[in-house]
């Protein structure tokens, strides 16, 4: 009986290898005439294996890309972020001046929130990102 329980437990943990959770998700409101907005969030991995984050998307925008601002010797550069690996139990911040999700080309007038999906090797997670002034 005990070995059956153990097997069941093993199966349960194996099925939830990468558990990606999105916290504090928000999008900075864009000035008039601007077609791109930066989305910020804290990613947490509550699972037992690394999450390999591969990209983002949103039904409200034509495209969404992971970017990073690097400020070095006083010069700011925005560069695409490739895959990101988030260790089990770890967290990763997307915050102003650093990593962000660039949402490009709104397909319709925006409401108070924007659905954004983070894709990873084992699936995807969607959250509603709140549009904020700052």
């Amino acid at each position: 009986m005990r070995s059956l329980l153990c097997a069941a437990l093993l199966l349960a943990t194996d099925a939830a290898a990468c558990e990606l959770v999105l916290e504090g998700a928000w999008v900075r409101a864009a000035p008039p005439g601007v077609d791109r907005m930066a989305a910020y969030v804290t990613l947490r991995n509550g699972g037992s294996e690394d999450c390999v984050i591969t990209g983002a998307s949103s039904p409200a925008f034509g495209s969404a890309m992971l970017h990073r601002t690097v400020t070095e010797d006083g010069v700011s550069r925005m560069r695409p972020l490739g895959q990101l690996s988030l260790a089990a139990g770890g967290s990763l911040d997307f915050a102003p001046g650093g990593r962000h999700i660039m949402l490009l080309g709104p397909v319709a007038p925006l409401t108070a929130t924007v659905p954004v999906t983070l894709h990873h090797e084992q699936g995807e997670v969607t959250a509603l990102f709140e549009i904020r002034e700052p």
Partner: protein
Amino acid sequence: MVDARDEDRPRAAGRGAGWLLYAGVGAFALAIGVLTWVAGQGAPAEIQGTVLERPRPVPDFQLLDQDGVAVDGGMLRGRWSVLFFGFTHCPDVCPTTLYSLKRAVAELDQPPQVIFVSVDPMRDTVERIAPYVRYFDPAFIGLTGELADVQALTDGLGVAVAYVPLATGEGGGAEGYTVDHTASLFVIDPQGRLAALLHAPHHPAALARDLEALSR
């Protein structure tokens, strides 16, 4: 609060000791006054940036403001100014900085004029710049113009600018680039000279404090 021990302290005897006391207090007050004056004369002790030992005149320029009005270096004389070089297609650094500037100048009794200079005049026309700067603060100024004129100013101030292709997933083309640019704030004195650079990251409270210290 009266300390009981005051009663026990021997009083100064005679007019001589009293005179010494007044002289001492007077000298102390004078010293404080002198120190305050001296501190006000020199460069601020600590800012998040670099104060130029010798302020450097900003090279003259010919640009357009957000109302399409032709402006030149004369606009920098008579009051303090803060120049920020950016572009409207910048989703992260530029809005973050402009918002910080808005919050910072709101704290100041005598705010400097905030001037956003586009390093991407190809896309940032007057029509595009106007609602952009006004969105952050109706008092903010936006400058754009011919690429050569913008470059004359960025070269003259040592502002780094580089155009880098960006795969936007829409087939690239004319829209598909980002602009690497100096993110420091250029603080200009009322004589139109570069007095200091303030380095990123720009947080409103520190920015307000540094701007006030520089313009004292």
